[in-house]
Symmetry: C2
Subunit: 408 residues, 2 copies
């Protein structure tokens, strides 16, 4: 390959615990290739449009910084939720992006994100192709939701799944502490708007919740209460893992029943919250069993103190390979992970045409959802277990994990 | 000392991440003293009254089990929230307890818990004194709330504080990820009904929340909104740590305003929840700033994957010393921790007459609450920092931390 010009990388969408490992991978690939300037977008494409551009070598100064970067939650460069407008009629936006790239002699453009971010890579590479621009655009997959198609799984998912399994295991032991002297239900609400990958990870806890409800199948409140009553006949501690996005058979989000109409975010998605609290109230209303709810909330994506080493390594590799591919002249592609063998766990990486990736959500296969939609199968466990294996211990200082920050 | 008869230990009240380290300490002290039978109460004094008694050597079989026990969340023996009735008029309950002790030749009775549990130790030692019973009763302090008097701090607090500081640090970095492109407030609701020790631990996060509200001082909603608006003039990410138990100047719990009247638990305490959600709604109602809330919930007490080694060691020592004291003939006392020096951190242990301990709540000193009740001082940091120092790495298997369980 003949390297000419500089590289830039941006982080987009909700962070994951390993999004900065992908940054570390891309950074070290650029170092290895002798790239002159390694830039970072400060706040993704939105910041880029305002020329918020960082010289990454000023912020990642040595191997120690790279190690700390891998242990840093959130998006080190800052993220955005900015969606590029369609090309037709908005050529000025695209011309602006390319003019900034030319100004900084940026030839390699890496973007790390989920579905919406892959859409950005697609549009920019489309525009480049249509206008004879030489720059290369590569996507690095990232989402805790694991809903990107094509790739076997997505960097970010394994660590979120490990956090969920770890915390849920502790909650299950904790809730059992009064034994036969108190019956109680804990509803644990887990992220995942349309895909149940994260909620399914509850089954990795080993001591296992009693019921697991994914958004892939419809939720029946009467059946739910009946099952709780049945379980309570033989068990005192009942733990239920439930996706924020479960829906009734008619398509109504369960959280909407509770909160009376959901708000919408910038992308027009319904804002979800409160399913757990609603189901806990329902149990207290329809049975004499004590119930409460716990939401893992954003800790699912930012708990860098519980990271899967497998996930972090794969995120690093995806970043590294995306940079290498761009240097080799690839464009309009996303790095994907294939699993050659689940046991032993062996993987390979490929590049996939971004047009087949963008804006398609991959869900948990229905055949992996068992017990009338209340649990997941051993096939899911076999799929997900390798993804949460291994640890990266935080660097503690003053009793708390240390992070790398741009401010330093 | 002349050892005669057997020992029993019980765990009571809400668990902590290190309550099982105290069990490990008492167990190893009993082993070292050559106690014939080491019993555990299955579900505290409530289980004991039903003769639910465990032979601990069958469940803690070797040094590996002890190591795993220290890494196990919740109460290994099971806990209870049972309050002994007053002696007068309830002599039958006390006679039953002593007859079970005699049946099992239990001479040493250790009870590990908070205020209510120390009350149990007091009543039993009082009854023994009044009726010429020879058995010895010792209390081991335990509470995440850190509200026990006499002792400088309480085993269980340091680990909960470390979990809060660690998770909050991650949440603060996470919430900042959109930088100048989105202003948002996160309200983090932290346990602590009347004492703000846990909420104050938010200041240990290093990157620090913007506001910290403890229940020790009254909460002014108008001032709160004014401060949020002021901070939003210069910052885009605002994080607020708030105790579940904050009250208005007239004594009303803030959560009661939101939920319209709180429920009460077995001890007549008002059940608190929803302060965070209420304050987030208030911000959205009175400003144009996006706000949401996160509750750490029971993860504060059960997150054994983030344990303070200092706390775990102190919990172990308190258990060990309580057992030793009982063997030496002490009774009606609780082990306390004195801090001889904060830097370097040096401690000593004493025994304190339980009559002066029971049912008094210790709060955060008002002089440590600064900025008109919206933050804590460096004196608090100096007090609390040593308590969160050091780690105990979990033993991972299949990607999740392993725990010791009675079932095994």
């Amino acid at each position: 390959m003949s390297i000419k010009g500089n590289m830039i990388i941006g982080q987009s969408g909700g962070p994951t615990a390993v999004i900065n490992s992908s940054l570390a991978g891309a950074f070290e690939a650029a170092e290895a290739a002798g790239i002159k300037k390694i830039y970072g977008m400060h706040y993704g494409i939105e910041g880029f449009l305002n020329e918020n551009i960082l010289d990454l070598r000023k912020h990642i100064k040595n191997a120690q910084d790279v190690s700390l970067l891998k242990r840093t939650p959130s998006a080190f460069l800052g993220s955005c939720r900015y969606k590029l407008p369609k090309i037709d009629g908005n050529e000025d936006v695209y011309e602006k992006i390319f003019s900034i790239m030319e100004k900084y002699d940026i030839q390699y453009f890496l973007y790390n994100g989920g579905n919406d971010s892959m859409d950005t890579v697609k549009m920019l590479s489309d525009y480049a192709a249509a206008h004879g621009k030489p720059q290369k655009f590569m996507g690095i997959p990232k989402t805790i939701d694991n809903d990107l198609p094509v790739t076997d799984h997505c960097p970010g998912y394994g660590s979120a799944a490990k956090y969920i399994a770890t915390s849920l295991k502790e909650i299950i032991v904790d809730n059992d502490c009064y034994g036969p002297y108190r019956t109680s239900v804990v509803i644990v609400e887990i992220m995942g708007r349309h895909a149940g990958w994260l909620t399914a990870a509850a089954a990795l806890a080993n001591n296992s919740p009693d019921l697991i409800y994914l958004p892939e199948v419809s939720f029946d409140p009467d059946d739910f209460i009946k099952r709780i009553k049945d379980i309570a006949k033989t068990k005192n501690s009942i733990v239920v893992a439930v996706s924020e996005g479960i829906k009734l058979e008619d398509g109504t989000f369960v959280c909407e029943i509770g909160s009376g109409g959901g708000k919408k975010d910038a992308f027009g998605h319904t804002q979800l919250s409160g399913v757990g609290a609603y189901l806990a109230s329902m149990i207290m209303d329809k049975t004499d069993i004590k119930a409460r709810s716990i939401e893992f909330s954003t800790m699912q994506r930012c708990a860098s103190h519980v990271v899967s080493r497998t996930d972090a390594d794969e995120a690093y590799n995806a970043g590294y390979l995306a940079a290498q591919a761009a240097f080799a002249g690839n464009t309009g592609e996303m790095i994907t992970i294939q699993v050659e063998s689940r046991a032993p766990y062996l993987t390979s990486y490929s590049k996939f045409d971004i047009h087949e990736v963008a804006n398609v959500e991959r869900k948990v296969p229905l055949e992996w959802i068992i017990n009338d939609g209340t649990y997941v199968s051993d096939e899911f466990i076999a799929y997900a277990r390798p993804l949460i294996m291994g640890e990266i211990e935080p660097y503690y200082s003053e009793g708390v994990p240390q992070h790398l920050s741009l401010a330093e």
